[in-house]
Symmetry: C2
Subunit: 138 residues, 2 copies
């Protein structure tokens, strides 16, 4: 989230040029309050070249400004990073939830996520993907 909506500033902070495309992509993702599918970003930014969109999304992920959300084998979704993610590490403490009714995908904060423990395994990161009925639909 970026209260002042000054994505240009946020981009420069991370040593990325504040181009029209990048700001447009960030605004598009932000406006959609759920996680937004790749195709929907492209639909809303038809002037942006397909290849450029791929490269833009990758650089924003790399810089820790957005993250991918994949649930099942669906299309890939994207969401703004609400935590302090960096180039070095994305660190999300939320569940990626897909509603089987409205098909929307969202990042849901959970205070019940504690660390995962698998004897013999050294866990660096983990992610929870859930399916069910979202609060809007139930």
């Amino acid at each position: 989230m970026n209260e002042t909506n000054n994505w240009a500033e946020a981009l420069r902070t991370r040593n990325l040029k504040a181009t029209t495309n990048r700001v447009g992509v960030l605004q598009t993702i932000e406006e959609f309050d759920k996680a937004i599918p790749h195709s929907k970003i492209q639909d809303r930014l038809q002037k942006v070249d397909r290849v450029t969109l791929y490269r833009t999304l990758n650089s924003l992920i790399e810089s820790g400004m957005i993250h991918k959300v994949s649930v099942e084998n669906d299309e890939i979704f994207y969401a703004i990073c609400s935590q302090k993610c960096t180039t070095e590490e994305h660190n999300h403490q939320h569940v990626h939830f897909k509603c089987t009714n409205c098909n929307e995908v969202s990042c849901v904060q959970s205070n019940s996520i504690e660390t995962l423990n698998l004897p013999g395994y050294k866990i660096e990161s983990f992610e929870i993907q859930a399916k069910g009925i979202c609060s809007n639909c139930s």
Copy 2:
């Protein structure tokens, strides 16, 4: 797991014809004790048509004999269902773990998985994907 390795019988039980291709796919997945990437199944069964492999994998998933394992945006992996999965429902109580050292993906049983709870959301199923160092590599 199928002790007698009689996959033909298991297929007929589920009203699937016990074809050479299907038995071959099941054996290939079983032999690889980790989850096996799609491309590796194809490599080992070069005589099987590409399209047939896709359709075979789908029917085996549909029948509850195997399940997909996807971690991050990698290639899709497959594993034999060790639980009593059915056409109606796959029901796995394990973590999908990807080792960042050897890149192998495995299904790891965990007794620490309890139900996930998100206030306002009705959770039908959830899956945990973890990354780190596996027991072999550490």
